[in-house]
Amino acid sequence: MSAPGPDALHAMYASMLRVRVFEERARELFQQGRIPGFLHTSVGQEAVAVGVAAALRADDYVLSTHRGHGHLVAKGGSLRGLMAELYGKANGICHGKGGTMHIADASVGYLGANGVLASGCVVAPGVGLSIKHRKSGQVVVTFFGDGAANRGPFHEGVNMAALWKLPVVFVCENNRWASSTAHALSTAGGSIAARAAGYGIPGESVDGNDVLAVQDATARAVARARAGAGPSLIEAHTIRWVGHFEGDAQAYRGREEVAEGRRRDPIARLEAHLIERRLLDAAQAQRVRAAVVAEIEDAIAHAEASPLPRPEDALTDLFAHYPWRE
């Protein structure tokens, strides 16, 4: 595939920063009690969301996970709408009914985060079928974690998509941990990518902290999908810097892994690459960061100022058509 040009590289850099700053601020706001619920962030894993999104068209679809803020931000979702939803506010994207783990933004093709692991793997073939039927040339990406690859829907979904040559890209974010259980203790055979061979589709293992590697692998999978050749499986190896959920004491792993993650920071890595190629200098980097911070602070101010839902709105949005009394 042709390598991304300077504009695309700058966009990826800003997008990763946007995900990072959004989630770091969300963590702080959660710790301060401003955001209710359970918060799962992808700090350290930004290159996967951004590398994948960089290979997609605006009208392509994404199915996401419980750790999905990055996927939505990278797909171009509204920061104000997302932050207000995390706050449970009336003007959140889902009017406060979804929250962090059950959010969707259909306007950018983001068909839903998911509180149930690997569920998107069986939804994706249907989206692919719809694309094929409508001859729209779109693709659908479904994200899932390494732990989720051990659920049945992963296998059912990959089989169906491969069988019917559907335009689906399965993206496994292998962050080494299924909640608190190590990859080696939950996953036979070691490699998720190798499972693709059983279904006769390409399976590729990439460095998930290298946004360019992720973008390149995704671009090839997307090209194959658009050409009608069927699905691909990408396993992106990455490291989450934070706990499974906000407040996770992480007794199951040592500090060395997080230190390794920080050494392999995907944002610093792209920044160094851009500086080396003279596509970015320190002053420009500072301006990009300042602009991203301003966007996120605007989203937070918007969320803070937004109204809570009316309690009785808990009874709306269930059906499109329901004129009967209960």
């Binding site: 679809y61 199915l63 959140g92 994207i93 889902c94 009017h95 406060g96 009914k97 979804g98 059950h102 959010i103 969707a104 933004d105 259909a106 068909l111 839903g112 998911n114 509180g115 149930v116 569920s119 793997c121 069986v122 939804v123 994706a124 073939p125 249907g126 989206v127 692919g128 079928l129 719809s130 694309i131 039927h133 409508r134 659908v140 049945g152 829907p153 059912e156 979904g157 089989n159 169906m160 069988l163 709306t316 949005d317 269930l318 059906f319 499109a320 058509h321 329901y322 004129p323 009967w324 009394r325």
Partner: protein, 323 residues
Amino acid sequence: MARIDFGDALNLALREEMRRDPRVYCLGEDIVLGLPFGVTKGLIDEFGAARVLNAPISEAAIVGSAFGAAVTGLVPVVDMHFADFVTCAMDEVANQIAKSRYMFGGQIDCPLTLRMPYGIGKSGGGHHSNSVEAWFVNLPGVKVAIPSTPADARGLLKTAIRDPDPVLVFEHRGLYRVVGEVPDAETLVPLGEAAIARPGRDVTVIATARMVHESLEAARRLAEEGIEVEVVDPRSLVPLDRDTLAASVRRTHRVVVAEEGPMRGSAGAWLAWVVMEDSFDELDAPIVRVAAPNVPIPFSPPLESFVMPGADDVVAAVRQVVK
């Protein structure tokens, strides 16, 4: 007015809706041959393999993919093969299909139909016989239709397919070969509109699916004793036509609720509560329920017959409420 059986009426509904709307497609195990009950037989000849999809034995992917297709522009009709197998796709039904519109603040429509062949009979045994409609009555976000006649089967399935929300259509497998009159013209049966299957002044029997037929048989026998039973068929449980139920109770003041599923926590238990809430002052006797005992459905014919509610049980229940 043609006389056709329940299965052919469903087949007719599928053909009519697939002709009307190119977005409608059928999906399920063995549906090209129309197995196991013949409902989808011959669709492949008219609509081709792109719209009559024989799926791998992957219930989660069948139902999950139907959801994905429904939210992106298609109108899937899933054949669950046996309703019992929905357990293999329960996340897809209960967490994804039922909740997504709500969780996403109304952003998506999910025009999806799940055809649920279900019910006791012919020694189907524990994994092929259960009446699981109560699970879905208890699930906010799906609608539940449960026809008893060929005309209603056709009309309700057509309505389900056209509905913008997910609808489960429970098709009792003991009814597939029941013959009845079906209008020549395309006729929709709305959700939330009960039918009076037989008028009567003494007792209201609220019954669903096969139990409508058993209750009509009971009514014939009781009429010989001078007891006039009104049989009310809700036809859909969600939404429920409470007004027709209440109007019947105002005429009879006595109620039996008859269903095939197990007694505990059932659809019938909910119907009895609805009657209590809407019509308590009208009732002259406690409501009596007919349902299966709280066991899985057994295999051996005498065991199966023992747990299968029938006309005798309805007769006994009616005698109890008029005592």
